[in-house]
Amino acid sequence: MLSYIFKRILSLIPVMFVVSCVAFLIVYMIPGGPATALLGMEATTEQINALNAELGFDRPFLVQYADWIVNVLHGDWGDSYFLHQSVLAAIGEYFPPTLSLAVLAQVFSLVLSIPLGIIAAYKRGTAVDVAAVTASLVGTALPGFLLSMFLMLFFSVSHHWFPVAGYAGLEQGIGEHLKYLFVPALSLGIVQAAYITRMTRSSLLDVLYKSFIHTARAKGLKERKVILVYGLKNAAPVILTAVGQSFGSLITGTIVTETLFNIPGIGMLTISAINRRDVFVIQGVVLFVTLLYVLVNLAVDILYGIVDPRLQPGRK
């Protein structure tokens, strides 16, 4: 298992190298530069060119790339032109809100989806099952921003239970922190729950008709134990994959939600950086998000082995 983990980590090197090339190339190729954003709409071409030259963006691509990659390998990911801080510091500042949002959304999604998936599988073909399947289909099909707007109108504008938008860090107290994250996390959680519910239901259905379940029942075990211990444990790898994918997408793909609810997370940082052509931030965020996604996947793979030792790498 340890050697597997080591190999997987080693395999990250070429992945990250390719991603770094692509990220740099894309940013290099898109027109416009930070000078345009820094100087405003009515800046003259001469001013923009002068500032671009001062910032070093008039140098050949390979020279710029070589400089950047050498610096990255030395732990210097460059500085933001707008945030007045290094890219690593900016990521460090913008990541905690995203992580909090993703974790809370995942909690909501699990609380909603796992019981619903189990009940739907157990009550297969009944009205409860149809309701659960329909709800999960609606949840999957519903555009996230529409759901967010609906929840914002209901919880914030109509009832004033939660703020419309904004963010309070954990240092301002857990209550304040959760107050700002509740509605956005709920909207993300509902969408993710729809997906996990379907996966839980279908994987559990697969297991519930296996012979060892019949044997367990024949032995007189209580139905709750049959479902929750034998059924769920064997369905766990599929559910875990779904949760892993869900968490990966939550942590890397909350751009719309963060923008809508004004949460200063990685999604908002990405959008802002692209809009203002904050090149080192764009490249840094791409590297960081890729790394994160790959690591989440690695963690899921490792968890497979723990949940179901038959799936451990190298085991026949």
Partner: protein, 527 residues
Amino acid sequence: MRRKLVSCIVAITMCAGLVLSGCGNTKSETKSDSKDTATKTEAKAEELHVAIAANPPSLDPPTVNSNIVGGIGAHVYESLFAMNENYEPTPVLAESYEVSDDGMVYTIKLRQGVKFHNGKEMKADDVVASMNRWLENSAKANTLIGGSVFEKADDYTVTLKVNQASSDIIMILAGPIQFAAIYPSEVVEAATAEGISEYIGTGPYKVAEWKQDQYVKLERYEDYQASENASSGLAGKKNAVTDVIYFDVVTDAATRIAGVQSGQYDVAEEIPLDNYAELADNSAVKLNVEPGGTINLFLNTTEGIMANEKVRQAALASLNCEEILLAIYGNEDLYQVNAGWCNPTDAQWGTDAGKEYYNQKDTEKAKKLLEEAGYNNEKIVLVTTPDYPEMYNATLVVQEQLKQAGFNAEVEQYDFSTFMEHRADPKQFSMFITSNSYNMLPIQLSVLDKGWAGLDRQEVTDGITAIRSAASEEEAAKAWEDLQTFLYEYGAATVLGHYTGVVATGANVEGMEYLRFQIYWNTSVSE
């Protein structure tokens, strides 16, 4: 049977959703009136929350032509002169000034005892450093009085030596866009290409915190030395009525609207005009409609088929500005059909000279002009950006009108930065539309800047000289009329119409004023 059941459940779920949201609306009116007002009384009296539409790219007004930077900066920094409510330049950090007989030297006395936010007294060294940096970095200043120099005479006196005598020098010094903010000299010396890094001014508010992409927090500056004159526009007495102002960055318009409706924000700037009618019916919200500027079509005068004057005139002839404006703004209260490039209410510069070329709605004339020009279906490229909906929507309508007149018009859309690159390069556009705020002086208009859309004509240079060297206001106004007429005759550009900006506030917000920016130093949230 199962299908029926599914339909039934979907219908019930939707009904429940509607009922639930409906209940919410009814309850909110009573609840917000009672409970929320009570909490607001304590919390909001000390804080004013203003939802702004974008993160300021910097807090260095002299270098950035941005309303957001200027709007926040006006509360933090001051300049030697500023516009009062009648658009007259009025001393702020200056006490008085004298002009030499030849009009080449301005001697400006400074107010004494004015302190920066770091406690240091403002003196001539600070003014000289700041003003010379402004002359170098502000595109507008550079174009108009580039080459002029500020020098120290004594600790409380500076001189400005200009290259050319002109009647508008003080007006230029008082311009609110890329305004000449006075910083401590050490802040100027430490500034890099990316701007200043310490935000220290002499204004009624000081920068307490700037959380990128979240908010800029301003706190009342207790040692602020207010002017003795009555409060007027950006000049006169500035009472920091509210202790703390938060400029909350809320990029999504729907969130800004929801925030002002719920009371989380006291002010929501840049309300989309689509929401105007809906919000006008809401008694919890007040709408402030302010004149904003012009929406303009610029034509390529230097490259390709558009360099032909008849083709440009054909384009002008084909335009129906009422249709374009209604399509963009959807409400006749929110725009004005007028050929002037300056604010029509401006007594000196508001003119509709050249109006015979404006809003012609004459497709037949356009077709005839195209034929005379020998137009052979060459591609006409309208570049635009969906990042600014009014510019984008106007472009689509103009494209349609041009097509009806026989133009082979195509729209190319890019993100804002890319659009800006195309806009500045005559090889990459045939036409483009932008909305531009009003300028205090017509000579500051982008259309007259050859770096903007490539217009490079002697008539423009001569016109600017005539305006600036005019012996009287009337003569200057006449010179501007002539120049505006030339712009239309030459088909360099056309105003499509005049737009307004809508700002929403809570019903309990009082004292907000406007002069190019929303002014919040006299603004309070009533109890």
